[in-house]
Symmetry: D2
Subunit: 351 residues, 4 copies
């Protein structure tokens, strides 16, 4: 099978580096172009940050291109971890010529942009038909959610299906890599936590409702429950931990919830996609887990499974709590976008 | 005025050291005896941990006594930060002869033991009458709450009075000093958080209901709302941060809530007690505060004010969120107990 | 006594804030002007970083001025914590009109600029005569050392006087505040240390030789021993720890060294200057000290004493080791500059 | 080839777990017995700490035996990471029946116990002949060095051979795993470093001299240079960083030193032993490396290569500096002992 040629925009950033790392030796995709900003014209290998994951010679030797549709050669697919402002402007320009899968926030809530977690709402990809028509694009634009939302929505999906969600209150303990590089100064986090991340709570309170919503005629009708978020930045490198309180239509029975979470599978698992973990949600029996350093890389595809623990009912009737951990740079960013592209490829949406 | 003579039990522990530090040069109290365990017979100064707060020569020269009522000389008051098991057994023995103010958990929920935050429920001290009668004690036993509960209840009190609480979901980010010394291993918290603290959630879910309950004939009728706790240990030395979601009878108007919190005063403020901060609750206007390292020592009596920020309504009607910070070793332990003793002294309950 | 009017350049930076904090209610000096860069025109209070030390209303209400000699009103003294490039250009311009005390690195090694630690080499201030003459300045320019050098040179001075230094090898564990704000990213220091700080080793290897050198006709003849530095950035907020190996002319007797360090006093102590600690060097007897969090604020003027521990002879003859801790933002920056200005004032060098 | 049966003593400790992890699927060895202390009688899987490396079902199902020669079945080899006191007493008892490879400190400096780093001094194994004879042991006792010493001696060996060492001053920044579990309290290391580790400096100052010494008639004549150590505990999980100053007989030319380090190979590399990394010493060209989190797992056998950077001459003539990083739990403990056993096996010393 001939591999599809892909470009990664903003490839020198902390998430861009994850894409490149994960796309090396990929069975479907082949790295054809990398774009950057300050590093344009340099070898990619010379633009990596010290904490980049392992990246081989082939990718290191690619020349960094400007982030502009004209500068990128013919590719079948473009991954975009652009910053918000750049994404708002550039992603539609790229979509005229290219199929774009983005984990930028800029266009996630646009009516005709599907916001995809492949295990949760693959049906939302039908929005691409009306989208291409309306904009007269040869390409397309698909979004993946905020790094905190992906883990949350993956867990809320089986809960919502089984029990009917009425209210969700989520408190997060987020890793510094979620803020990019250089990101959060050491002086702000040593012996400290910060109970605030700009714009984060708005994203956590809106994106899951679109993801769990019903797709209709060229738009998604959002799910009807309410979400309240309380976000915190803590001194961890990778792995967003989220403690979640839910109110449900039906009784929250902890054993049943564990069974639903453990049994949850999606189309990526059925199709055996390369980046699909065997279990999208792993439930740990230990009383003091998940923990970021110990659990962020578990599962058959490291960083792609959400780990859940401490499932318990109450307080009161029809409510319960649990704690989840998702690798923010993998499942929360590059990994979800690549898995989405794999799904699109299998469905013939990248041709 | 003659000072009352006081003893501190378990004075070599991390909280015990706080007591000793705060009781030096106290206008009401004079350190007369310190007890310990492994250090019995040594000078107190030789038993201090490296991270002890400043402690002067007078206290350093006291000899560490065994923790037994017979070993303690005649004092007017005993402070007890004993471990749970020891407290369960020893506090009633001490109460036969001494007035005991305890921040141990063992006897907090006992029917006839008042669980006191001086600004919140000083009226509960009336339980001491029936208590002394029932047990035929010459002394008495008063408890102060868990370190996480104190900050929470101080904030819930004005909210409950103003809006009527129906449900509280609290997510905590707790400092390591709350686990004592040696406490949490570095290997467990570097690049990590732990979403579990043994027995902590039960305490957080029950103690505030007693504190905000109504005192009656020899017992307290607990408040009627529900509390759900989700606790986390993080890599900070001092200061428990708590993000709180509340459902209320009346509309949660953020401006009104800020006014109620800022205006909140209690009997310690009216009486001008030495350890009473001018404002029990300080509301910060900054969007990203409170933060443990920056805010744990603010206020007129460092460590005694709770700092609140991020007051906001929603999600949905009649609900809201806020974040609070309380110094766990001061307001959450030694400071509250000393303030309670000051109040008791003013009311003539220590004679 | 009328107070001298002072300006602080770059007052919005992390060291600038320390100056402002320390100059409030100063017996000799009165804050008259603050300059900045991005904050020009704003109230100073609106430009402070979250981790600024306490700063009162008076300073908060000052308007931030541009960092230019023309923009600064008539003052008697200018403190300069400017970044290197800006200092190189601007400090000589300021010196035409103003007496400048700088802790910037740019002009420290200039032949006619005295590089002062008030306890160590106050005699070097005689360089100001030839300096003013050569440049036709109405003002003057005095430098204070790099934050790592100050603590080191304060300890080397009594050692050199007593034993004669031949070689010094110093290994540092430096706090993040030394890199300013935002400074070192959290992602670089969580579960990590960095064995490199740009230009730092060169400064540590040269500045002490000038400070301990002999002042002659308009220049300093540097001390003759050799210094090798191995610097590391670690995850602490304040306090540079330095482990030092020395080779000496005379035998290194640990008891004698402790006595020399404990007995060391300088002109600031004799004059009783306001920012002079009673003991410039405190020797701790504990085997595992000094430690940054526990010892950085000890002494009569918090942050102004260097704390030394682990003094021991060997390996081999005429050599020894010790560990020292100096508060990098106070003794290593603002505090030393203010103490230098106090000394200059007493000597009539600011009129 | 039939695998040798091995036992791991103290297998439930932090180093013991590393042994078990590394011995799974080992081509020469097969786990036959695990001993413990508090966990005796339990399944090994039930005794693991949360931060244990991945350990499979086979090992998890072994029953934990008492640490006594009588309790251990017939095995060909015993690995001992026992605590000092236990090792002192028990290792000679085990050696009566078993070949013991120990990374405990107790017997390292005993005259007839070879202290081995397989790349550095495999010839010292000849001590086993006289050893067995003197003690009438059927087995034998071989030691491996302290976790800080192993990385240091691996780097000093090629330096000593090429330039002739006269003096070594080493300053360490050591990870908390080196203290075992629970080890160093969080309260001691948040925003802090500790310039002291009990007994560590003595080991660092003596063991390398034995390792680099010449083996003779039943004893080793230690190398003649001097070592001074200044040790520090810092907030990292794994990886001891060491900055080293050396004085040499010949000129310290940085390029030559890099070449010698890069070219260094030992018998394990020649024999292609399973746990031998291709390069015992990796020299990084980056100016700010090695760093613990980024470099502790590099190389062909993760954790077995020492990473060196910042090689530079001076101060003065015939001296130089460099920084090295060694994974303390792998190369500094379990890995070195296993590599030693592999070498002994190849040489027929385990039959």
């Amino acid at each position: 099978m001939k591999k599809l040629r892909v470009a990664v925009l903003a490839a020198t950033g902390i998430v861009g580096q994850r894409y490149v790392h994960m796309l090396q030796d990929h069975p479907f995709f082949e790295l054809a172009a990398l774009t950057g900003n300050a590093s344009v014209g340099k070898r990619y290998g010379a633009s990596l940050t010290a904490n980049a994951p392992p990246i081989g010679e082939e990718a290191r030797n690619l020349k960094v291109l400007p982030t502009s549709p004209d500068a990128v050669p013919d590719v079948d697919l473009v991954f975009s971890p652009l910053p918000t402002e750049a994404a708002k402007k550039l992603e539609p320009q790229f979509a005229r010529r290219f199929n774009v899968v983005s984990d930028a926030s800029a266009n996630r809530m646009a009516e005709d942009v599907p916001l995809i977690i492949p295990e949760v709402n693959p049906s939302h990809l039908v929005l691409l038909g009306p989208q291409k028509e309306r904009h007269h694009w040869r390409g397309s634009l698909v979004s993946t959610p905020n790094c905190t939302v992906t883990g949350l929505a993956l867990v809320l999906k089986p809960l919502h299906d089984a029990l009917g969600l009425k209210k969700v209150v989520v408190s997060t303990l987020q890793a510094v890599s979620g803020a990019g590089y250089p990101g959060v100064p050491s002086l702000d986090l040593i012996d400290n936590v910060i109970p605030y991340i700009e714009y984060e709570e708005q994203k956590v309170e809106s994106e899951p409702l679109k993801i769990l919503g019903e797709v209709g005629e060229g738009a998604v009708s959002p799910a009807k429950f309410e979400i309240g978020a309380m976000v915190h930045r803590v001194s961890t490198t990778e792995g967003h931990l989220e403690s979640v309180y839910v109110e449900t239509e039906e009784e929250f029975d902890a054993d049943r919830v564990v069974d639903e979470l453990r049994g949850f599978r999606g189309e990526p698992q059925e199709l055996g996609l390369p980046t699909a973990p065997r279990e999208p949600v792993i439930v740990t029996p230990e009383v003091d887990r998940p923990q970021p350093r110990l659990d962020r890389d578990v599962g058959t595809v490291p960083g792609m499974s959400v780990v859940v623990g401490r499932v318990r009912a109450g307080p009161g009737r029809n409510s319960g709590r649990l704690t989840l951990l998702a690798h923010n740079s993998i499942r929360g960013a590059a990994g979800s976008a690549i898995l989405t592209a794999e799904l699109m490829h299998k469905r013939g949406l990248l041709e």
